[in-house]
Symmetry: C2
Subunit: 425 residues, 2 copies
């Protein structure tokens, strides 16, 4: 059920305990008298209310979808049914990714809220990257995550009927997809009302990009692919604000943008946010810490992320490729394994180029579009911020305009280091 029959109401710290006490499992999990439960609203995202509730025995997190875009206010209405798609995504991928997603204790279709595992002492990856912290697991974990979540929901793993049922279900997540279509693939490329950028520093760069037919064509081409390539169930918003980390654990949250789309869109989201973090680091240098070594670490994570994804996805395909796509029944002859190896290599290269293209679109929208990232927006000095942003924009433009230049992950990393070297000369 997408929507409950009863009335929707916005939850508050004052009303939440009375609601949670009605959920037997949650009450037991929190423990002690509800009067003792401590409730905090901690939401820092663009869309929802998020509460942490701590009891004597344990804690939970409650996320409620508001009937409008939180960051914009009630003037921008938004169906709260997105909570349905969030829990449907978690439910769909949990069998394949295990504890990489939070445990769901309860979903309420009436209040459009999800009661889930409270992740502690995890922090939002984006905050950690801004603070210059190292997370030795995250690149491997998220590479593995995307490989497993996407492989097992694709035609490579399953009869096509299962994927098609999923396509039909998530095809109703249109209000959220409308945000992606407009804010990522259209508005940054013309003078749309909601756009903003560091001005006047980036005025010229924005104008130039909006006059560049080749860049716009490439971005629109990825926008078309976003809508015309239901390869797998994708998270749809896998940036560094959708990942929570500790030194030893990584978790994926906030999949309300989920639908069946191109795998490269999830890859590109995570990749783009590593790159944006890399470009933002000079703005976070303090005293003797110029963030130079940390930048190198981030770039290495980008490499590890892609390498891990690539390795795991191919391994899963070889081990568990039992779906309708490239059906095993067709490839049972001697010598077929060589042909399949070629198919896999081509397929992975397409995912690589998709990752780069979608990453570029994601970087551009965070600098010239409506919703920015704290990595850059948090740089108080406008000149410094603009300098970081304009380097990131130049890289994104190159990824869209001359994609043939980037045949491997090393090509991408070399190009980034080259521009950085030129800038410090």
């Amino acid at each position: 059920m997408i929507q409950g029959d009863g009335p929707y109401r916005v939850l508050g710290a004052d009303t939440l305990p009375a609601y949670l006490v009605t959920l037997e499992q949650v009450r037991a999990l929190l423990g002690g008298p509800p009067a003792e439960w401590r409730v905090r609203e901690v939401g820092d995202g663009n869309l929802n209310l998020v509460f942490i509730i701590e009891g004597r025995a344990g804690a939970v997190c409650v996320k409620q979808a508001l009937p409008y875009v939180r960051v914009a206010g009630p003037g921008w209405p938004m169906s709260p049914q997105r909570a349905y798609f969030e829990q449907a995504y978690f439910h769909s991928v949990a069998p394949y990714v295990g504890a990489a997603v939070p445990k769901i204790h309860h979903y309420d279709p009436q209040l459009q809220c999800i009661v889930m595992e409270r992740l502690s002492p995890h922090v939002i990856l984006r905050q950690g990257l801004i603070a210059g912290q190292h997370y030795p697991r995250v690149a491997v974990d998220i590479g593995e995550y995307v490989a497993r979540a996407c492989f097992f929901t694709s035609d490579l793993a399953r009869p096509f009927e299962q994927k098609m049922d999923g396509i039909a279900l998530f095809a109703r997540n249109q209000p959220l997809l409308r945000i992606t279509v407009d804010l990522i693939f259209a508005e940054p490329y013309f003078a749309a009302e909601r756009n903003r950028h560091t001005s006047p520093h980036l005025d010229e760069a924005a104008r130039t990009l909006r006059l560049d037919g080749a860049i716009k064509s490439a971005a629109a081409g990825f926008g078309h692919k976003f809508l015309n390539c239901p390869q797998a169930l994708i998270h749809g918003d896998l940036h560094s604000g959708s990942v929570m980390v500790t030194a030893t654990d990584s978790r994926v949250i906030d999949p309300e943008f989920a639908f069946y789309g191109p795998i490269g869109f999830d890859l590109g989201a995570f990749f783009a946010n590593l790159l944006l973090s890399w470009y933002s680091q000079p703005g976070h240098a303090r005293g003797v810490d110029d963030r130079g070594a940390y930048r190198d670490w981030i770039l290495e994570q980008a490499r590890i992320f892609w390498a891990t994804f690539h390795h795991r996805f191919v391994a899963l395909w070889i081990e568990s490729g039992e779906g309708d796509a490239f059906s095993r029944r067709m490839f049972g002859e001697r010598g077929d394994e060589m042909a399949l190896a070629r198919v896999r290599a081509d397929f992975m290269h397409t995912l690589f180029t998709d990752m780069l293209g979608f990453a570029a679109c994601k970087m551009i929208r965070r600098i010239l579009g409506f919703a920015h990232v704290l990595d850059l927006d948090g740089i108080a000095d406008a000149g410094m911020r603009a300098s970081c942003e304009s380097a990131a924009l130049a890289m994104a433009a190159a990824l869209l305009k001359t994609p043939g230049q980037f045949r491997s992950i090393d090509d991408v990393i070399d190009a980034m280091q080259d521009t950085a070297a030129r800038r410090t000369e």
Copy 2:
């Protein structure tokens, strides 16, 4: 509603008048007393019952989906709900293609039957091609048809939400899609039980093809694209048995395989069946009529079909490209028209290569798979039949194995004429 609440029953010539008399509009259309209505069962397809009912004032056609595959019998059950998708397709494209589809008088979700316009004096195009008849309109009409039906149901023409609603609806047409996935994209490429071919003549060719990893990879790649490219609402089975013609009119029937898929699949179906007809013509030569001139005419229709489609699709895009893909809002600057022209050229070339690849898969399945075509099966002499079939197979193999060889429609036609010349030397 996909399925009615009442009981399903198989209609017969004896029970049909009593049913039709309950439909006021149909009764008026037929006219006169029901006792005078003449009923004939005329179905010659693989799946359904088809009746022609003639009354004093007019006639209608009634098509009922059986709960099994007609050509295979009750041992191969098949959901009769396919009639729902047939009428849903007609309903979706009628606003764009006008009288190119038959008028639907009534759809009965209980009996899974459709009462529709009786097309007269139309004949099935396949029958006309076997008989060596010329239809001056058909290549233009079907090229226009595919362009209009596909363009207006794509993201190029409409907000993506409309397409996504359609994707969700037709995603339930899974039993029919299962037939396509298995019979076109998998079984011809291994020793599947349902396969048959002209034996022993084609034994070696079948064995060779089933050992060819490159051909199988290419075919499986198109199979993957079939499931991962919801560009537009496609007919899904647009061969020459799904087109009815007169010298001045062309109509498209039998869209029960419809879903949101690659446009190249519809293009390839029609194109492949023109090619199969061309390859079959020597088998239909009689006396002084060697069918040589008729072959030339068929090849010219293949050229006209693609040229018409290409011209109309691009023209519609320029005139009516108001969808989310390549959004007009992004391309309002001077010079953008040149960038868009490049986008369109690339897009059309991809449709062209898709057409050829899907056509090749369609040709192979009609020669080595389960369901054949009368163009070839109707050639009584097995040696002659095998000769036609093996030439068609060789062309299909080339289309899959060396697609780079075919940059334009002329390359395809030249290659066909070359092989024909070599064979007669």
